[in-house]
Amino acid sequence: MKLPQLSVFLENRPGSLMEPLKVLADANINLVSISLADTEQFGILRLVLKDWEFAKSVLEKDGWVVNVSDVVAVDVDDQPGGLAQMLGILAEAGINIEYMYAFALRRNVRAVLLFRFEDPDAAIEVLQKAGIGIVQEADMY
């Protein structure tokens, strides 16, 4: 199950992280996950949220550049070696990971990892075959 993720381009200056978040707050939009990738000069704010289409239009109306990409939420066994085992399966299948980040799923207080794969469909197939749980959209929000 692929989830849409919004990416917002931020310039590296004071207030640039707060501004798009304030736009979403004013529109009464709640976030499921948030991650920030940054360099010295710019940042990319990555957001997963339920009403992503609405959120995108609200941000764009305010002048932000918003990109949509698919991520896969994986429920990893919460025990030593759980993540390593899963990454091993992906490596063996030759699946490329562009980046990943973790967040806590509110519903059952579990740690979920969000992956941006080069080829998300192939990754889902490999993970499902190995019996690794993929978080469905309904369980996310």
Partner: protein, 443 residues
């Protein structure tokens, strides 16, 4: 006579022509002007203008007739790229240098063997005027390459009989070591690089005043009297200014004597006019104007009335040093948008051309030049298309690197590139002001 670290700077005049009385100098200029008009008459650009204006060598009756000659601009050189201004066959060329063009292509300038001899003589003149002696060791930290600074000074120093250390640019720590090890007394570089040397020396725990350097000849970029005082105090040296540009010959057009009250123009080889850049009429004596230079004696590519775009003042009073040649002030500005960044001439149009080569960039950009410590820093901010602002960092870093590489290719300078989101940079009504130069004026 000046005394620095108990070493005198003698007032020495190399050539008789430097101290010719004004009337004799002007007679020589007129003879040479007729000669150069005859020599360039078959260059298509000049032939056309000469026919239109009825110009022949004989029609140059006095130096005032110079004003009937056409101007030559950098654009004219570009339109006749690469070597459309040659007056001699290609096989007579001995060397070709280049300077920044307004676009990606450099402007080429060519020399015959005689031109190279003349060039080294002219550099030797101002080096000797500024204290150089055969027993000195000279550290040259100018770039060697198409840029005329390195090679021009190099052969001038050899001409004087001094020892050259062609250290070229870069690796300041090593340069300091070389200066110390060889006991070099003379430094040749841009004034801002001298400040970098002083600063780096201090970082290494070396007092820059303890270096063996006694004096320096600076050029390649405009600087101020305040900067001279700072360098002289920092390094305990005497700093001399010289001027030149590749289209005219390179360094050697003018330089300071021991009195350091303006740069003596080598008027037996160049006629320098100081004109109002708008009306193109001469400005009153002593006022600022654009320098327009005619090369009288060069063989391969003598240009008539080349518009330098450099703003300065002329002083035709004879100097106490004994030279009767006109002196020019420091260059105080430009009449075009050329920037000099770390001694490299950069035109905003070059940045624009570099951006055009990278897919996904837009015509909206800003150029910022700063000098945070001693070295100039160029920042280019460019708006990119929304689809290129991806969620993937590596792709955006790659885009930045691409832009930086193209700027280096086209303009020959490293820039820090900043990506900007669409519609975030300032929009201009009328003439765009894309360049922000935060360095002090004239520095």
């Amino acid at each position: 006579m000046f005394t620095v670290q108990s070493a005198p700077i003698d007032n020495v005049i190399r050539d008789r022509e430097e101290s010719l009385p004004r009337d004799q100098l002007e007679a020589l200029q007129l003879t040479r002007l007729r000669d150069v008009v005859a020599r360039v008459a078959h260059v298509p650009f000049y032939r056309e203008a000469f026919e239109l204006r009825g110009i022949t060598p004989k029609s140059m009756r006095s130096l005032d007739d110079l004003r009937r000659l056409p101007f030559t601009t950098k654009d004219d050189l570009r339109r006749h790229h690469p070597l459309g201004f040659l007056t001699v066959p290609r096989d007579q060329l001995a060397r070709i240098h280049g300077s920044s063009g307004t676009t990606g292509k450099p402007t080429f300038v060519a020399y015959t063997a005689n031109d190279l001899q003349l060039w080294s003589d002219l550099c030797a003149r101002f080096l000797i005027a500024g204290g150089l002696k055969p027993q000195h060791t000279v550290h040259v930290a100018f770039g060697y390459g198409l840029f005329t600074g390195g090679f021009g000074l190099h052969y001038g120093i050899e001409n004087v009989g001094a020892a050259v250390v062609p250290a070229a640019s870069g690796n300041t720590r090593r340069q300091i070591e070389i200066i110390q090890d060889l006991g070099s007394e003379v430094l040749i570089c841009t004034p801002s690089y001298a400040l970098t040397i002083a600063e780096t020396a201090r970082e290494l725990g070396i007092d820059p005043r303890s270096l063996p350097l006694r004096f320096a000849h600076f050029g390649g970029e405009p600087w101020t009297e305040e900067m001279r005082q700072q360098i002289e105090a920092d390094m305990d040296i005497l700093a001399f200014n010289n001027y030149g540009l590749s289209e005219v010959i390179g360094p050697g057009v003018s330089g300071e004597c021991a009195l350091r009250d303006g740069m003596h123009i080598q008027e037996d080889h160049f006629i320098v006019e100081c004109l109002d850049p708008d009306t193109l009429d001469p400005v009153p004596e002593g006022e600022e104007g654009e320098l327009v230079i005619t090369a009288l004696t060069k063989e391969a590519m003598p240009l008539l009335r080349y518009r330098t775009r450099d703003i300065a003042r002329l002083n035709r009073e004879p100097c106490a040093c004994g030279r009767a040649t006109a002196r020019m002030s420091r260059v105080t500005g430009r009449t075009d948008d050329m920037l000099i960044i770390r001694g490299v001439n950069v035109f905003p149009s070059q940045i624009e051309e570099a951006l055009l080569r990278v897919e996904g960039t837009t015509p909206h950009y800003m150029i910022e030049v700063e000098r945070p410590a001693t070295l100039d820093q160029l920042t280019v901010r460019v708006e990119v298309l929304p689809e290129l602002l991806s969620d993937r960092m590596d792709r955006m870093q790659r885009l930045r690197d691409r832009i930086g590489k193209e700027i280096l290719t086209v303009a020959g300078i490293r820039a820090s590139v900043e990506l900007a989101a669409p519609r975030t940079l300032e929009r201009f009504v009328g003439k765009a002001r894309r360049v922000v130069d935060k360095r002090k004026p004239g520095q």
